[in-house]
Symmetry: C2
Subunit: 167 residues, 2 copies
């Protein structure tokens, strides 16, 4: 708390005018991140996506996930590393939001399977595997790295297409 206060240019005690305690501060931060994720996702998928093919929607999801996560590395880092420091209730609340997000990918996979365009065994596991693969990007991506972001997006969409057995 003293460290946070210092970066904000204030004494530690002053923080308690804005949060009842440290746990709430952490939870609000993480829930804010998930809310932003779901809101951005809704905005991105809200347009004409319903009429697009499963493959187009899948590609769009991959690009969205990559962009969103790479744009806020700090929030992503906290949201993954501090999960264990949440109270059981707060953890459950966040897990529910995370599941909402995962479900959006799974729906795409299911529609792809239903349309006979994807060839995969299990939509639930494939969903989790894809998200883990995509989020892993945040641990090594550097802005001045070997490849530009557009190229990385192309590679990952290719990996995901292969994983879902697009024919």
């Amino acid at each position: 708390m003293r460290q946070i206060a210092h970066e904000v240019g204030v004494q530690a005690g002053a923080l308690y005018r804005y949060t009842p305690d440290k746990q709430t501060l952490l939870f609000d931060l993480m829930r804010g991140h998930m809310d932003a994720l779901l809101a951005a996702r809704a905005a991105a998928a809200g347009g004409v996506a319903v009429f697009d093919t499963p493959l187009i929607r899948l590609d769009e999801f991959v690009r969205f996930h990559i962009r969103f996560h790479l744009e806020r590395p700090d929030a992503v880092f906290v949201s993954y590393m501090e999960l264990r420091n949440l109270t059981p209730e707060n953890f459950a609340a966040l897990e529910a939001l995370r599941r909402d997000y995962e479900d959006q990918l799974e729906v795409i996979l299911q529609s792809g399977v239903a349309a006979g365009e994807f060839g995969l065994t299990d939509t639930k596991i494939t969903t989790l595997a894809i998200i883990a693969m995509l989020t892993g990007l945040t641990t090594w991506y550097r802005e001045d790295g070997r490849l530009p972001l557009t190229q990385i997006e192309r590679i990952y969409t290719g990996l995901v297409r292969g994983a879902v057995g697009v024919s």
Copy 2:
């Protein structure tokens, strides 16, 4: 330290007969995990693997990674969540070991590409993506879950085959 001592049935001070400090204890734990990973990998890949096709070696790597990580969830958890609490030197040492491991997968991918059996754009990124996908399994796998481990292994080998563009 007091918590660790309690679980071992000893006073906190007694731990310092076995470790010079907390940082060293953490590092030894994590390095021990990586040493075990590399040793187990060497044992698994040491046999006839050299004569096998890239695809067979890839499948074997996937099964190995899954098995090894699911058998020691605590060590995996610590090794991923406590990286940020290592000194820069200790962190660098562990990163080197991790890279050794990653390289073993990348070699498989390279040989698959060279043999014309895999169709992928970038072996380095594909390596990291696959490992992130596989390791993500440890965050949700439960022994009494919906699917048996052998089935999960089959699904993941399928996902990886698709990702590397096996034809």
